[in-house]
Amino acid sequence: MAVVEIKNVFKSYHDTEVEVKAINGVTLSFEKGDFAVIVGPSGSGKTTLLNLIGGLDQPTTGEIVIAGHRLSELKPSELIDFRMDHIGFVFQSYNLIPVLTASENISFIMNLQKWPKGKMTARTDELLSSVGLSDRHKSRPSQLSGGQQQRVAVARALATHPEFILADEPTANLDSKSAEALLEIMEKLNHEEGMTFIFSTHDARVMKRAHRVITLEDGKVVSDEKPE
């Protein structure tokens, strides 16, 4: 079953008087359990496509359907709740809440969704263990390395069992060891929990582990391959 369906989506920006077509007629779908990367040179439209899938931006034309919901039919306030309930985000710059500890960052969305305290604590502990940070649960982001922060960000994205996780260049700021460790964790979660991951990346290590590689150029899908 398709978790994400992208139907003939165009996205243009009007930069001064010139119209820039960031996404130029993309049609794609992602199935449950996909471990897919979107690659392409700078300016090819990777981040724009991710923003459109994440409901952070609206297509100029075309339709995006997530778990049966047409994003264009949701009001802005409904879209925020929809993101919270259905999509997990991992950002290039980790983007944790600096004043909260690792545990508090992971339980942040569960808190917004008003989970019962016991259930929330159990899920947080489970995720801390999955990302190998049980001993750092009380550390604030400033006390963690880049790799550790990104692992907390992955745990936060996973916390409420979203439909899929969008990760925008998650390894871009990490050294190779941390990047490998992070990818291993995400691969394991994909394998064990069946979590769908959609990455945008330049990183060959990510591409090497991906089950599906979509290449964008000038806002168009030029290839969609499933490496053996």
């Binding site: 994440g54 925020i80 993101r83 919270m84 950002f91 710059s93 004043v99």
Partner: protein
């Protein structure tokens, strides 16, 4: 909500230095405003208290023509009836009668116009506190058993009549040494020893010549206090018109000298026992020109005045606000000053909060974008920014109020010494010692206003945060 409150609280402390600067600014602003207000308020409250307790009391009843003509014959026609009417009015606690005659007080060298007030000594002590203002060692409040006529006069009048003089005696030098006046200043002052100065002006000029200017300003009032000397049993002559409009007069011995903060009152008021004045003017026994009433409390002055006026339509009934409208005006003026102070304090608070929170929002653009992206709705972000502002204003506001209350409590007991400027202040009836005081209601109102200002000034930065576009915000540096 608990989580949002917790994040907001933690956000306040993520840039400790900046938050502490804002909180300190709010604290200092609130303290400066509240304390200045308390100090100004105290001078007015003290002035009103002094006027009511020493000079006017709450309500005065006169013969309708008395104040206009000041004619000795315009007495209260039915003194007992007026007293009964007053004493049966709720809120009135005590009454006493006064005889008032205008005349001239003179000594061998000076004379000056005065208002001679004949009083019932016992009744007066129950209503006024003037007897407590007796300068030590200058006599008493009509307690001596003497065959002479006696008068209780103000220090300023005594100076004008040359009853008081300044002499640098060995005792005065000893007092100055005890008071911590430096030896070099004392040695210069000693050169004036033995000389008599018959007026304030002459004495100030004399010690001004021997002392440095700085020392004159610093120790002048101490030197005056030490050199102050009173000729005991001084005699003054009072001249006035009797009941038949014939000029009459008599010698009076000064029974005691009082000191208030009101130079005008001190220099024109002179008190004598009513019986002595009646005898000299030929007024009948038991007659008075004025009945004075004391009330339970000041707040009820207006309503009791109305009630008394209804009971005594044939008399002129006035309260202290009507007799001395400048005081009533000062009380009203205080309310206006209060409003101006509050506007200044709150405007400063609002600017501080808006500035800080705008900086906080700009600095955290990416974080706010991320929060919106992962599902924190705009309402929660708005509340979070509002809470941060409210925390800043509440902490600063309460710290300011706390410090103000402590300083007001301390200075309210010890007083603030403005003796250096006393001459100017006492000339217009204000004490040279301020005992800051403020209503509890002022604290409550100010606290509420601070919280409201904190909330209002947070709206603009919070709205700025809401206008952020998550995609652009996340990309920002």
């Amino acid at each position: 909500m608990k989580m949002i409150t917790s994040i907001a609280w933690k956000n306040v402390w993520r840039n400790k230095a900046r938050s502490l600067i804002v909180i300190s600014a709010v604290t200092i602003g609130v303290f400066a405003g509240v304390f200045s207000m308390a100090a100004i308020n105290s001078s007015v409250v003290q002035r009103i208290d002094a006027a009511v307790n020493e000079e006017l009391s709450h309500i005065q009843v006169n013969n309708k023509d008395f104040r206009r003509s000041a004619d000795i014959q315009n007495i209260i026609a039915d003194y007992q009836g007026v007293v009964s009417a007053l004493e049966s009015t709720p809120g009135v606690t005590k009454t006493t009668g006064r005889i008032i005659v205008r005349g001239i007080a003179s000594t061998a060298t000076k004379s000056t116009g005065v208002e001679i007030t004949g009083i019932d000594v016992a009744g007066e002590k129950e209503i006024f506190t003037l007897h407590e203002k007796l300068i030590p060692e200058t006599g008493n409040f009509f307690e001596s058993d003497t065959k002479f006529n006696t008068a209780f006069i103000g220090e300023k009048l005594a100076k004008e009549l040359n009853i008081i003089r300044y002499i640098i005696t060995p005792e005065a030098i000893a007092v100055l040494k005890n008071d911590g006046v430096p030896a070099d200043v004392i040695s210069k002052i000693e050169t004036l020893q033995g000389e008599r100065f018959t007026s304030d002006k002459k004495f100030v000029k004399a010690y001004g010549k021997v002392l440095e200017k700085g020392d004159t300003e610093k120790y002048g009032w101490k030197i005056k206090e030490a050199a102050w000397s009173y000729r005991e049993g001084s005699k003054i002559i009072l001249t006035f018109l009797d009941i038949d409009d014939n000029q009459t007069g008599a010698a009076f011995r000064v029974s005691g000298i009082f000191r208030t903060n009101n130079d005008m009152f001190e220099s024109t008021s002179l008190f004598v026992p009513a019986d002595e004045l009646r005898q000299l003017t030929g007024m009948k026994e038991g007659t008075f020109h004025r009945v004075i009433a004391r009330l339970e409390k000041n707040d009820i002055t207006n309503e009791v005045t109305r009630a008394v006026r209804q009971k005594l339509p044939d008399y002129e009934v006035l309260n202290w606000k009507e007799i001395s409208p400048d005081l009533a005006m000062m009380a009203d003026f205080m309310n206006q000053i209060y409003s101006v102070f509050m506007v200044i304090i709150l405007a400063a608070l609002a600017f501080g909060i808006v500035n800080t929170m705008l900086m906080a929002v700009l600095e955290r653009t990416r974080e706010l974008g991320m929060l919106m992206a992962i599902g924190m709705n705009r309402k929660k972000i708005f509340v979070m920014i509002m809470l941060e502002s409210i925390f800043l204003s509440i902490i600063g506001g309460f710290a300011g109020m706390g410090i103000s209350e402590t300083v007001i409590a301390i200075t309210g007991k010890t007083g603030i010494n403005l003796v250096k400027y006393s001459e100017g202040m006492e000339a217009i009836g204000y004490s040279a010692y301020l005992f800051p005081t403020i209503d509890f209601q002022f604290f409550i109102t100010t606290t509420i206003l601070i919280v409201i200002t904190g909330i209002l000034s947070a709206i603009y930065p919070a709205r700025k945060a809401l206008k952020l576009n998550p995609v652009e915000a996340i990309r920002s540096e």
